[in-house]
Subunit: 325 residues, 2 copies
């Protein structure tokens, strides 16, 4: 493998000059620059990113920690983060915490020893001491964080409002909200508050249910959906706090012979690909995941350059209407 010295020798320049060309430092004539590039190509010289990172104290790598990869919401976040990172010449180190405190902690340690430029945390655990005194920016997406640089979330309260207003506008008179896991407080909890505030304002009967039994990790909500329908037999409109839950509501309704949208209207949350692949398609609250991902990468770049970034940023949501309402 060709080294910097080989390039210098072949081009008849000093190692210092070749290094200045590579790092774009100091004055270099166009002729010299061209010569160095020609020799690099000729020798198939690969600059060693690890060595360069070492001298810069941090790498151009961003650690991304998610609780799940196959969940369509996180698959979309990862995809959009990767694209935004690519656009700004960063690379993504991907970690799946499976929602476990100890794995999250271990990953933070790995990020430290790999001198990452920053960490984006979409995982949702309780202990936050591990985030204290980090030497790099830590950006959280859709989670509260006492420690860390900044949080990015969507307007969950407004999302809950939009869902309730839409169901009521479509003629529903008895609403049910099915929330996600409720182990500890997170931005998504505000969906429920927006939903309930509209129901009270419009004097519409409602119930909100969330249960630690909702098997978030397994994406398996069938039994709880069945129990909730049994417990609230008058329900004619359901706001599910994810498209995955909404898809399973459609399945349970089909099994029970409840026609959607005629007898039951369903609104999901996220607008990930599942929402458009069910029959009928799912009316849902769209999170602007792409814009949230771009903001996260941009904040890492700016914060690691010493710039101040907003500690909390909220992105607007919209309702996307499909066949389920």
């Amino acid at each position: 493998m060709a080294t910097l010295k080989d390039v210098a020798r072949r081009s008849g320049l000093t190692v210092g000059t070749v290094s200045r060309v590579l790092n774009n430092r100091g004055y270099i004539s166009e002729q010299t620059r061209q010569k160095v590039y020609d020799v690099m190509r000729e020798l198939d010289y690969q600059p060693n990113e690890m060595a360069r990172s070492l001298s810069k104290k941090s790498s151009n790598t961003i650690g991304v920690i998610v609780p799940h990869i196959v969940h369509p919401y996180f698959a979309k976040i990862i995809s959009d983060l990767e694209q935004a990172a690519y656009d700004r010449k960063y690379k993504i180190l991907l970690f799946n915490s499976q929602g476990k405190d100890e794995k999250e902690e271990e990953y933070i340690e790995m990020c430290k020893s790999n001198r990452v430029a920053g960490v984006i945390l979409c995982s949702d655990t309780f202990q936050t001491e591990k985030f204290r005194n980090l030497s790099f920016p830590l950006i959280a997406i859709e989670r509260f964080l006492d420690e860390g640089t900044a949080g990015i979330e969507c307007d969950n309260y407004r999302g809950g409002m939009l869902a309730a207003e839409h169901l009521i506008g479509k003629g529903c008179t008895c609403l049910l909200h099915i929330g996600g896991i409720s182990n500890h407080r997170k931005p998504a909890d505000e969906r429920k508050e927006g939903f309930e505030d509209v129901c009270r304002r419009e004097h519409v009967e409602y119930a909100s249910e969330e249960s630690s039994q909702l098997l978030y990790d397994e994406m398996d909500y069938y039994s709880i959906i069945g129990r909730l329908l049994d417990g609230h037999p008058k329900t004619d409109g359901i706001f599910a706090s994810s498209d995955v839950i909404a898809a399973q509501v459609l399945q349970v309704c089909a099994r029970r012979g409840i026609r959607v949208p005629e007898q039951m209207k369903v609104v999901g949350y996220d607008d990930v690909n599942v929402a458009s692949l069910t029959t009928p398609g799912i009316t849902t609250i769209r999170q602007p995941v792409k814009e949230m991902a771009e903001a996260a990468i941009s904040m890492i770049e700016r914060a690691s350059g010493g710039e101040m970034v907003p500690s909390r940023s909220m992105f607007p949501v919209t309702l996307v209407e499909r066949g389920s309402t």
Copy 2:
């Protein structure tokens, strides 16, 4: 930030001794080892992985290149690769090629300059010159590769056979296969061959259609499904080469008032979460993605240790029956 020298000074040992403890090299008394660990904890010393990798010539990072992240099949592969990597103390650098030759090439260069331990390629492009003379193992999943270390695929031919046999066993008399993109030859093409061989053997009428118009990148197959149903009006059984296509077949059937499974039976491929989230659920051919991912990571470890690995490995598939048949 504490350095190796600080640890040595504080523990009253030489830098060489501390380094031997860190790298588990040579004889070290348990007492000395404990002393070094205590001081490391006390000073919050972080071993610098980048520096360690530099001296080892390669890092414990594996590059993973996929054409799409949000496609449920690739989300599942990424998830299982991350888990298998974690189990063997590797980290994943994730790249999304979007099926573009030039992006794939750029990522291979980035992997080179980051001294990865190996690359796993799930992306599917034509030019393979870029894979020549790599200094690390290259493992391909579900693609043919002239260059590179090894290919891992599922038994696509048998998958096609299982789908046809199942549809015929359920009483279908006129079958249709809807394939994916057909830009260049890939293992998945053998699904069609297995399907057709069974149809011919059983003297069942069939048609196989694939079209470059199938919008793989956008996961949008609606218009082509509509055209195929128009062109083959007697069809009573469809074998779709992915669960995403099968989900869209269910939607088109619902829109046309064709009842599934009564009037039309549908089999998908992959067994990703979409297959279990539609109404009805999709009968599908299950790829053992977890086992394929574990094999890929294990091969990188073995090949980079100089071991010989099989150049092509094929994993068995099974049929999972759900409501669509």
